[in-house]
Symmetry: C2
C-alpha cells in the first residue's frame, strides 16, 4: 500500500503529468483531480487528442513544420511568397511570426540551434534541406529569425557560410528597443544596435 | 486553414490542455509540443493513464476518497484507528494529512464545504453518510479539518449540529502560528487563537 496516494491509478496519472516541464507533483495532482471531475466523454476527448496528435501528425516535407498533411498549409498556399524563406528554431516561432500578420513568405524550421554544449551539431538540424531549397533557385531571400543568443548567432553564421555561394539575399530580423520600452532601461547592446540600424522615419513609428 | 496553428491536430490537443486550470494557450502549446517529442509509447502511457483513471477509479464506500477498490486502503487497514474520523474537504487534504504521518485514524471526504454563493448546499456534500457512520456507534471522535474560512466554519457548525445528539467527541484542528513563522508578521486572529489555545510545554516545541 502506498502511504501517500489512496489509489495507484491516481498515482500513475499524477506521475505522468509530473513528467511535463514546469509541472510539479502538487500541480499534477490538481490537474488530474480536475480531469477526474469532468465527464467520461470530456476525459476521453482530452486523452485521445494527445494520442491522435502523436499518431497522425506529421512534419511538412518542405519546411519541417508540424502538419496534418505531407505539405503544410503555409507551403501549399499559392498566395504565399515562395521566394522568401524565414528560418526559425521551432514550431512555436512559426506561430509567433504568423501572429504578427506581417510576413507573407514561407518558413523553414531548423528544429533547434547549434549548441555543442547540448550536443546539437549542424548535422542534427534541418540545415541541409534549407541549402537544398535555396539551391533549387527560386528563393530570393532568406530571413534569419533565430534567438539573439550565442547559439543563435553561431547558427546564423553557419547558415551564412553554407549559403554564401548561392545567389540569395540573406537578412536577419531587426534587433532593437521593444515597442513600449523605455530607453533608460534598455541594455547597451540592444540600444547600440537600434541606433546603428536606425530606419528612415516615415511619419509614424510603427 | 487556420491562420495560427499549422495543424488542426495540434490545435485540438492545445485546446484540450488549455481547459485545465491555470494552463493558458502558450503553456498548453509548450506542453503539447513537449509530448510530441516523446516516443509513441510514452505518449500512449500518458494518455492511457488519464483515461484508465477516469474509467476505473472509484470512490471508497466508507470515506468517499478516491480508490482502486470499493473500500480504500486506509479504511480497509485493520491497523488504523477506526474510532477516529478526520473530516476533510477533498482528496488532496487526505494526502496532506497522511503526509504528516501524525494521524492513524480514518477519514471522511465531504467533497467540498457549504457555500450558498457557489450553490453548494449540505445536501450536495457527503454529510449524511458521516452521520450514518457516527450513528453506527463505533466512532469515538470526529476531527474537523476543514479550511479556516467562513465556508469551513459554517460547515463545521452544521456538522456539530448534526452530531450533537450522538455520543461522540467533536474536535477541530489547532489554529495558530505556523512553525517557522515570526510572531510580528502573524495576523491578530491567528495569534490570538494560538494564545487562547496554548498547550502545556513539554520540554520541546514540536
Amino acid at each position: 500500500m502506498n502511504q501517500e496516494y489512496p489509489s495507484t491509478l491516481l498515482e500513475r496519472a499524477v506521475k505522468e503529468f509530473s513528467k511535463l516541464p514546469g509541472i510539479g507533483r502538487k500541480t499534477a495532482t490538481r490537474l488530474v483531480l480536475h480531469l477526474l471531475r469532468k465527464s467520461e466523454d470530456e476525459v476521453e476527448s482530452f486523452s485521445s487528442a494527445i494520442s491522435t496528435l502523436k499518431r497522425e501528425a506529421t512534419y511538412c516535407k518542405e519546411c519541417h513544420c508540424i502538419s496534418d498533411t505531407d505539405i503544410c498549409p503555409i507551403c501549399a498556399n499559392p498566395l504565399r511568397d515562395h521566394s522568401t524563406i524565414c528560418v526559425v528554431e521551432n514550431i512555436q516561432d512559426v506561430m509567433a511570426v504568423e501572429n504578427t500578420m506581417q510576413y507573407r513568405g514561407v518558413y523553414h524550421v531548423l528544429g533547434g540551434v547549434i549548441s555543442p554544449m547540448d550536443g546539437i551539431s549542424p548535422a542534427s538540424l534541418n540545415i541541409d534541406s534549407l541549402v537544398r531549397r535555396v539551391s533549387e533557385g527560386e528563393v530570393k531571400e532568406v530571413v534569419l529569425a533565430l534567438s539573439s543568443t550565442m547559439e543563435g548567432d553561431t547558427t546564423n553564421f553557419y547558415i551564412y557560410r553554407k549559403l554564401q555561394q548561392h545567389d540569395v539575399k540573406l537578412s536577419v530580423i531587426a534587433r532593437g528597443i521593444s515597442i513600449g520600452d523605455e530607453l533608460e532601461y534598455a541594455d547597451e547592446v540592444t540600444l547600440g544596435s537600434s541606433i546603428v540600424n536606425r530606419t528612415p522615419f516615415i511619419g509614424k513609428t510603427i
